[in-house]
């Protein structure tokens, strides 16, 4: 279905025409639009990026809107500004628009076009045709479709409702690959495959993006042994690993797994009796249920929620009264988890009745962006200044959503009226609107703005909140999120395993944090070993990776095992942290003054059993032969020798890691 005739540069088959050098015919085109046919050619050359003419002030007096958000202004900038001197209608090749990027004239951005290039010919053909803005009806781009045909990407634009009008826009798109080690795309959409793995290729055209997953397995899936899954999460995970040609790592040994569970769920170390019980009944669900009843579970996950919702902590050094206010909010989170409140109930309070968090910011736009990051896991902040090039949010949508957060004002005659956000450019009130996300249910009537936001986040069925929370909990337990950065869920930043994230989001839909944690820690995905393996296995979560304990976990584990006092201060940098461990009072005192160790030393019949007890207490395993040879002589120095051994263990890589 051809909509454009051959004279103008950008029709569905025009590039073949262009390649043969056919431009500038006399036939008037049936349909042409500067926005659809010319502007994308400039975008492909990077002309409208933030570092060139798309910058807020333009470049060299020539300003294009960033990523083509304002095509009419761009048309004016090219055809009318500077007295229309950017194009020369009598001698197209003499146009500034063509002479500068070909370096015929000085160009700050260097060479962007060559005369034998299709884009050059297209631009020239457009100018020769009189540089029209539009011929035929104005069309609305609805959808961009991307498929792969024999190692070449084909992008199709659908206009005016799917199926009515479409056009191949492959040569008008900008392409990029999410992982160039796997696949690269050239300007014409030709693919070059490299190493194994999965990568997404993206096409961008007129502010629309489309993506396509391209996968080359690490090993032929049919050669891999069948894995049986008796856990719903593992079924999804294993299917995905098989697709990728990866074999899951075997489960971690029981004592490693138990230590992982204790540190992850309650920030404590398992005792020898716990290890024996777990060996007798190696069911992580039973252990998780017990740990999740401990107050330290609520402490640990209360902290996680506080980080997720960006509730400031004392270390953020806010002024006194406000710092206390947020401490109260943090404490309430922990109490709510102890009571067993749902995640949705907790979030609802923060969005409606307990609004100190939101009102920390004066500007409604800051509040809207906080809700985006903290509750929905999306960064709408880019759209404050420009339509986002990598995400779906438009500037107007950002502002309308921000208007939902304007502070209420007193109403004449009593009561409060909803607040109003005035447009920063025009000064007119902005009609408030929720973000344009497809929801499963209709908003109830008669809600105030805060309640509408809470409905949108928690009950509209868009699952953004649940995906965000599931990803956060996954990251807390596995060391890395399925989506990273954690607050950056978007089409162009896909999850490592979308199916796993979608599955966990469904589990999180009930809002029961303990059920979600239990579901995760009872899976083979969580239980996988972190023993030696290839780095791509870790990247795809086929194998676990050891990670240093969070600082709070470390302190809680030391305090719990040795009845030691927490350190007086926490240094900021990683180097200062190591210096503080080596020379600060904290670890030395924990090793030298622990009453627990005094008792252990008194009760031990000999040095070998003392060492055994210390290793069981701190590392959840017996000492190896080399370790016995290293430490037994040191223990001859009485209590100080014991302090030396315990210090070395506490400061070691192994103690400080969750493996």
């Amino acid at each position: 279905m051809l909509l454009c005739a051959q004279a103008l540069p950008a029709q569905s088959a025009p590039d073949r025409a262009d390649e043969s050098g056919a431009h500038g015919g006399a036939t008037p085109p049936a349909s042409f639009d500067f926005r659809h046919d010319i502007l994308p050619r400039l975008h492909r050359q990077g002309c409208a990026s933030a570092y060139c003419h798309g910058s807020a002030t333009g470049r060299g007096g020539f300003k294009l809107s960033l990523f083509g958000s304002d095509p009419d202004a761009d048309f004016r900038a090219i055809t009318a500004d500077l007295g229309g001197r950017r194009i020369d209608l009598r001698d197209a090749a003499h146009s500034l628009l063509l002479r500068k990027p070909t370096l015929d004239l000085d160009h700050g951005g260097g060479r962007r076009l060559r005369r034998d290039d299709t884009n050059y010919r297209a631009l020239r053909g457009w100018i020769e045709a009189g540089a029209p803005q539009r011929i035929g009806p104005s069309r609305q781009l609805d959808e961009l479709e991307l498929v792969e045909r024999s190692e070449r990407l084909v992008a199709t634009a659908h206009f005016d409702g799917a199926g009515t009008a479409r056009r191949d826009v492959t040569t008008l798109c900008s392409f990029h690959s999410s992982d160039e080690r796997v696949v690269t795309v050239d300007g014409d959409g030709r693919l070059s495959r490299h190493g194994p793995g999965e990568a997404f290729v993206f096409a961008r055209y007129l502010g629309h993006s489309a993506r396509l997953a391209l996968l080359r397995p690490f090993a032929e899936p049919s050669t891999l042994p069948q894995q049986r899954a008796d856990h719903a999460l593992d079924a999804v995970w294993l299917r995905r690993l098989r697709e990728l040609g990866l074999t899951p790592a075997p489960p971690a040994p029981p004592e490693v797994l138990l230590r992982r569970l204790y540190l992850d769920l309650a920030e404590t170390l398992p005792r020898p009796a716990d290890v024996a019980a777990f060996r007798a009944n190696p069911d992580p669900g039973v252990v998780a249920d017990r740990l999740m009843r401990l107050p330290s579970f609520a402490d640990r996950f209360g902290r996680l929620l506080a980080e997720t919702f960006e509730i400031p902590s004392i270390t953020d050094k806010l002024p006194g009264a406000r710092a206390r206010l947020f401490e109260v909010q943090r404490t309430r989170l922990v109490e709510a988890l102890r009571r067993g409140d749902t995640l949705h109930a907790i979030a609802e309070r923060l969005l409606t009745s307990d609004r100190a968090l939101l009102e920390r910011h004066e500007d409604p736009r800051d509040r809207a962006e906080l809700v985006g990051r903290a509750f929905l896991g999306v960064r709408i902040g880019c759209a404050r200044c420009h339509d986002s090039p990598v995400d779906r949010w438009r500037q107007g949508e950002h502002l309308a959503f921000a208007a939902m957060f304007a502070s209420p004002r007193p109403r004449a005659g009593g009561g409060m009226a909803s607040g109003v956000l005035f447009h920063p450019d025009t000064g007119t009130p902005v009609p408030p609107h929720l973000l344009p996300v497809r929801s499963q249910t209709a908003p109830p009537r008669g809600l105030d703005h805060a309640a509408q936001v809470a409905w949108f986040v928690l009950r509209s069925g868009n699952r953004m909140f649940e995906r965000n929370l599931a990803n956060r909990v996954f990251a807390a337990l596995l060391g890395r999120g399925l989506v990273e950065p954690l607050d950056d869920h978007r089409l162009s930043n896909p999850a490592t395993h979308e199916a796993v994230l979608a599955h966990l989001a469904e589990v999180a839909a009930g809002g029961d944090l303990r059920a979600l944690v239990r579901h995760l820690v009872t899976s083979a995905l969580y239980r996988a070993s972190s023993a030696a393996g290839a780095s791509h296995e870790v990247a795809w979560f086929a194998r676990r990776s050891a990670r240093p304990m969070p600082r709070e976990t470390f302190e809680h584990a030391v305090s719990d095992a040795l009845a030691a006092r927490p350190p007086a201060s926490r240094p900021a940098s990683p180097l200062a942290t190591q210096l503080a461990l080596l020379n600060g009072p904290y670890l030395h005192q924990a090793a030298d003054r622990s009453r627990t160790l005094d008792t252990v030393a008194e009760l031990a019949p000999d040095r070998a059993s003392l060492l055994h007890t210390v290793f069981a207490l701190l590392l959840t395993r017996p000492p190896a032969e080399a370790e016995r040879r290293l430490f037994l002589p040191v223990l001859e120095n009485g209590r100080q020798g014991l302090g030396d051994v315990v210090f070395a263990i506490l400061a070691s890589r192994e103690f400080g890691s969750i493996r």
Binding site: Y51, S55, T57, R59, D366, E369, R379, G381, R384, P485, D488, N493, S530, A531, A532, G533, S545, A546, R547, P548, P571, A572, S573, P574, L575, A576, T577, Q578, L579, A580, L581, L582, N583, G584, H588, A608, A624, A626, E627, R628, R629, L630, F631, L632, P633, V634, Q640, G643, D644, V645, F647, A648, I649, A651, S652, R653, E654, G656, S657, R659
Partner: protein
């Protein structure tokens, strides 16, 4: 009783440990995937930023207006300098005499009137953005260090301001903060001196770590590198001595001034001599909303006197050590101050005009760049944005103005904000 091999029978001596440590891995900055284009290798240039926290008045320091009416020029007298038409505040006599060797920017201008936002702009060279916090220029420059050194590449004395940090780069690139006042006789870097049991215990620790056969994850490798650096800093007396001002002759310490700023400058010189690439000295108390003359000339020591003594000592000291071509000194703050005195005799925030005094490396000696109008309100010639200033400083440090860093989302971020260009007149 188990038989024990003799080398394990007693905790190692410190000498053994130092020998073993020579083989420890240090952070390989270039192996980090943060860099789009690697910073230039082998560039040994360093710089010291003296950050006048709060916004130092340009009209009392480096851009005095002796001809202006009293409510503009203020109560502080001014003196001529070795540069034509440039007047400094009266207590800055020594700096005035050095003006033929230093570089003065008088026409820095921007639009950020709040401390926090203006500090972010001046320290990072990028306008504050709600989506991305850029790293401090000192962090970016320190990334270029390729040689193995136990001295941290970027040190803050006593600590770094909020925006003097790593921004979107990994926390490992952040400052090492010495955490104390070098002007005090009992000054010690926090947790640097080993405790009595540290040498023996850290030997055991290294041996235990060496027995750990588990594969090291990248985050564990980072921990190992910092532990190795901490051990070298704390156990190697030569490295530790870099932080010890007692190693300097009394006359030298006296010349810098026995106060926080002076001794901080001396410590900064010792650090850049021994491997630091960037040192930030944070001098607080320049937010003079009331009685500005008194605030700048009273106290122990008076602010301007301390500034004059410390910076002039640092410049002369660098020249004496033949470091002037390798080490740059920059004296800057977040904005200038209102040209008209307010009713309390102070000056308020004024981002439209401010001065930056600099010296050394690739900067032109004795250059005065730009000027402000008669009242010191706005640039009269050669307006310089913070981005231009950064481009100039990067060029003077032998860096690549076109370098890009990679933000966490993979976006390439130019080190110099769009539009920033080196000020040619300020470069040699």
């Amino acid at each position: 009783m188990n038989p024990v091999p003799p080398e394990l029978a007693t905790p190692c001596t410190r000498r053994d440990l130092l020998g073993a440590m020579a083989s420890l891995p240090l952070l390989r900055l270039f192996d980090h995937p943060t860099f789009g284009t690697p910073a230039r290798r082998g560039n040994r240039k360093a710089w010291i930023l003296v950050w006048l926290d709060g916004g130092a008045s340009h009209l009392e320091t480096f851009d005095c207006k002796p001809e202006a009416p009293p409510d503009i020029r203020g109560d502080l007298k001014s003196i001529p300098t070795r540069a034509d038409g440039v007047f400094f505040g009266e207590p800055l006599g020594r700096l005035a005499k050095l003006m033929d060797r230093m570089t003065l920017f008088r026409s820095i201008t921007h639009g950020e009137g709040q401390h926090d936002r203006a500090s972010e702009y001046l320290l990072t060279g990028h306008r504050p953005s709600p989506v991305l916090h850029h790293p401090f220029l000192g962090v970016v420059h320190a990334l270029g260090r390729s040689e193995d050194s136990a001295i941290p590449a970027y040190v803050a004395i006593p600590d770094a301001p909020t925006h003097g940090r790593e921004g979107f780069l990994p926390a490992a690139r952040g400052p090492f903060e010495v955490g104390g006042n070098p002007g005090r006789p009992d000054f010690r870097v926090h947790d640097l001196a080993p405790r009595q049991r540290t040498p023996a215990r850290s030997t055991l620790l290294r041996q235990l770590d060496a027995l750990d056969g588990a594969p090291r994850s990248p985050s564990e490798a980072t921990r190992d590198a910092f532990l190795a650096q901490a051990l070298r800093m704390t156990l190697d007396p030569k490295t530790r001595a870099v932080f010890d001002l007692g190693a300097e002759a009394d006359a030298v310490r006296q010349r810098f001034g026995r106060h926080q700023l002076g001794q901080s400058c001396l410590l900064a010189r010792r650090l850049v001599q021994h491997g630091s690439r960037s040192v930030l000295i944070r001098d607080v108390g320049w937010d003079h909303h009331r009685d500005i003359k008194r605030a700048m000339t009273y106290g122990f020591p008076p602010k301007l006197t301390a500034l004059d003594q410390s910076i002039s000592a640092l410049v002369e000291d660098l020249e004496r050590h033949d470091l002037a071509d390798d080490v740059m000194v920059v004296v800057a703050s977040e904005f200038g101050r209102t040209p008209r005195l307010n009713p309390s005799g102070g000056r308020d925030h004024w981002p439209r005009a401010q001065s930056v005094l600099a010296f050394g490396a690739g900067l032109a000696r004795g250059a005065v760049v730009g000027s402000t109008d008669r009242k010191g309100e706005a640039p009269a010639s050669d307006a310089i944005s913070p981005a231009d200033l950064h481009a100039t400083l990067i060029a003077a440090l032998g860096g690549d103005v076109g370098q890009t860093l990679r933000a966490p989302n993979g976006r390439p971020i130019p080190v110099v904000e769009a539009g920033g260009r080196p000020v040619r007149g300020a470069l040699r």
